[in-house]
């Protein structure tokens, strides 16, 4: 696995609370046996109308948002189903980080396994980021895993929380399954006692 480097990007604001995984990727797109093509169905029922035409009023369809790698979402992002298709779809669409004040537990776990960062920031910082995007939608920020900071254009920075173990794995290029496999002997001895 490669080391996770800092990256700079614009931010798409979607400040809706409790966005569930059925919205991120509706269940009818889960009949796949691989991970391919899910980006096309990200937020399918918010992005397209009944005829499949992109809804102009949905933020991801705004041409100015094209190429942004960061989503700024409301609280409890990713609640509901455990489908890893949700982070797969977000990552396939091009997102590398989701910023929110909180995430559903399983979603955050799943996202980290796919190098998609669930970044938790404070309520106040969340408001400031939204205000920043209101003032200048093209604002670009840099996400630094090393510093645990989102670096803003004006030189200020916003601290974020992230699972510390996952952060170190990403920075050091360690893969979690590889880490687990190292415990094979301990697992075997646990099984003998049990």
């Amino acid at each position: 696995m490669t080391h996770f480097e800092p990256f700079a990007s614009r931010i798409v604001p979607l400040p809706v609370n409790d966005i569930d995984t059925d919205q991120i990727i509706p269940a009818r797109f889960l009949k796949v046996t691989d991970r391919l093509g899910l980006g096309a169905h990200l937020f399918a029922d918010w992005r397209y109308d009944a005829e499949g035409t992109p809804r102009e009023d949905f933020i991801l369809n705004n041409p100015s948002q094209k190429g942004a790698n960061i989503l700024l979402a409301g609280a409890n992002f990713g609640c509901g189903s455990s489908r890893e298709h949700a982070p797969w779809a977000l990552a396939a669409f091009g997102f590398r980080a989701i910023i929110s004040t909180s995430f559903a537990d399983i979603f955050a776990n799943n996202a980290l396994k796919n190098r998609l960062l669930p970044l938790v920031i404070s309520q106040d910082d969340h408001r400031s980021l939204l205000a920043l995007l209101d003032a200048n939608p093209a604002s670009e920020v840099t996400v630094s895993l090393e510093q645990k900071m989102i670096l803003l254009p004006d030189g200020k920075s916003v601290p974020f929380q992230l699972d510390e173990f996952a952060r170190r794995c990403l920075l050091d290029g360690v893969d979690e399954l590889g880490y687990l496999l190292r415990f094979a002997d301990r697992i075997a001895s646990y099984e003998r006692q049990a």
Partner: protein, 476 residues
């Protein structure tokens, strides 16, 4: 409530802590625990990519004997359902992967096939004190037996297949105490919907619920499963109930439960796992079941629930901008005016099924309403048993004939319209009263609008043709 006694003046521990402590294989400084998994349940939707990962990395399934698979999400439940090539491929992949790894699969032809969270308990696979995972958020269901059971993603499915372990940070504990006893027409489903309306869909984040109190003790195992099933809708990692005689009576004699000497050993072990007297929880809430009425949701998450006789809340009266916006958005999607009563609102579909409410006792409740009554004109009713064992039992009791004579469709086992992956789905704009667990936008079909309720309320609404108070229907 019976409680385990702390041994040798040790710090009293909760049920969760005891199960957790006995499953930690290793824990390095600053790292999550390596937690052993006793039972890994698998289904066709969240496992194919995990098996592919194993093959890519040259790994095998470490404990096929601790891994059990079933087909539930994408299987048809109608006799002559049109074939769906994508679903068929998913099913074939599950069959191939089970064959490749040597795990038991309750396949298409199996007489025990069904929803993973119905099959595990009814086979006796689910047992007190176990750690149980599945690539499915409703794995919390199995906590009803005093197991620590939770949903995981597909990458973690691969981790467990390969190592029988998971990396886990220890969650916090949350006591949900249910006092009193529910009145007529109030079921386990109403109690859990009332809890969710109280704490919201993120109220349990980072915690494991333990349900305690007289109302929980008085419940059957199937009622307890309904409660634990929806723990995830409160954001909790899992929900648990300390095992007691009700648990042991349910388990005794089931095909995969321990028998004879092994049963005695297991029973001795199980009796030690309930929460010790004086053990502390990180959070708690108390609910009075006596004060509850039948519940129903009005919005687009399971926390948006009210008593069936109440009016839809108004966003104007909600404090906090984001909550106000969320409520307004939900009501727009649902097509509901603030302040209107839900009672009498015409509906199009009733779905009775899902891992929340598709067990034999749920079907008996629904049948008690349909007996000598007819489904209202223009309402479509699907009754989908949770497993083929449930289906056979219902047919032996004649419940299927009660449903079909009333005008309902009687189906084969599966998740069906709860997740709408198999062709059973709502049409855009349709209103459904559903015994399932999620009322998210489009959950039961694109544009469909869901009211979550108990089997009693669902059946009462089916015969009335509109949202109904089951207590009135049963009196008439």
């Amino acid at each position: 409530m019976k409680s385990g006694k702390p041994v040798n003046d040790k710090v009293p521990r909760t049920l969760f802590e005891k199960v957790w402590d006995t499953h930690v294989v290793a824990r390095e400084e600053g790292c999550p625990a390596v937690l052993y998994v006793d039972l890994h349940l698998v289904h066709e939707v969240t496992s194919p990519q995990a098996f592919s990962l194993l093959r890519e990395r040259g790994l095998t399934v470490r404990r096929p004997d601790r891994t059990v698979a079933t087909l539930d999400h994408s299987v048809p439940t109608a006799l002559h359902a049109p074939s769906d090539p994508q679903a068929a491929l998913q099913i074939r992949r599950m069959e191939e992967n089970a064959e490749w790894s040597g795990i038991t699969l309750y396949g298409m032809e199996s007489q025990h096939r069904g929803i993973v969270h119905v099959v595990g308990p009814e086979r006796g696979l689910t047992q007190p004190g176990m750690t149980i995972v599945c690539g499915d958020s409703h794995t919390s269901t199995h906590g009803a037996f005093g197991a620590l059971a939770f949903g995981i993603g597909t990458s973690e499915v691969a981790h467990v297949l390969a190592t029988q372990c998971l990396l886990q940070w220890k969650p916090k504990t949350f006591e949900v105490r249910v006092e009193g006893s529910p009145g007529p027409g109030v079921t386990a489903k109403d109690i859990i919907l009332a809890l969710l309306s109280r704490i919201g869909v993120a109220g349990g984040s980072g915690h494991v619920f333990e349900y305690t109190g007289p109302a929980i003790r008085a419940m059957t195992m199937e009622e307890r499963m309904t409660i634990c099933n929806m723990s995830i809708e409160g954001g909790a990692r899992a929900g648990m109930i300390g095992p007691d005689d009700t648990t042991y009576e349910y388990l005794a004699g089931r095909p995969d439960a321990p028998a004879e000497k092994a049963w005695d050993h297991a029973l001795a072990r199980w009796k030690n796992i309930p929460t010790d007297e004086g053990a502390a929880y990180d959070a708690s809430v108390v609910l009075d079941a006596t004060a509850l009425s039948p519940m129903i949701t009005f919005g687009t998450n399971p926390g948006m629930g009210i008593s069936v006789r109440e009016s839809v809340p108004s966003p104007d009266r909600v404090a906090g901008l984001s909550q106000r916006q969320a409520l307004a958005k939900a009501l727009t999607y649902m097509g509901l005016q603030p302040g209107r009563k839900l009672l009498g609102l015409p509906i199009d579909v009733v779905f009775i099924g899902s891992c929340t409410n598709s067990r034999i006792s749920d079907l008996r409740l629904a049948a008690s309403v349909f007996r000598l009554r007819k489904v209202a004109p223009n309402v479509r009713v699907l009754v989908v048993p949770g497993s083929r064992d449930v289906k056979r039992q219902a047919e032996a009791e004649g419940l299927d004939r009660i449903f079909t004579s009333a005008g309902a469709e009687w189906r084969d086992a599966g998740c069906s319209m709860c997740i709408a992956m198999n062709g059973d789905q709502l049409e855009p704009g349709q209103y459904a009263v559903s015994t399932s667990n999620r009322n998210f936008e489009g959950r039961q079909g694109k544009g469909g609008r869901t009211f979550l309720a108990s089997p009693l309320t669902a059946a009462a609404s089916a015969v009335t043709g509109s949202i109904a108070d089951v207590r009135e229907v049963l009196e008439s």
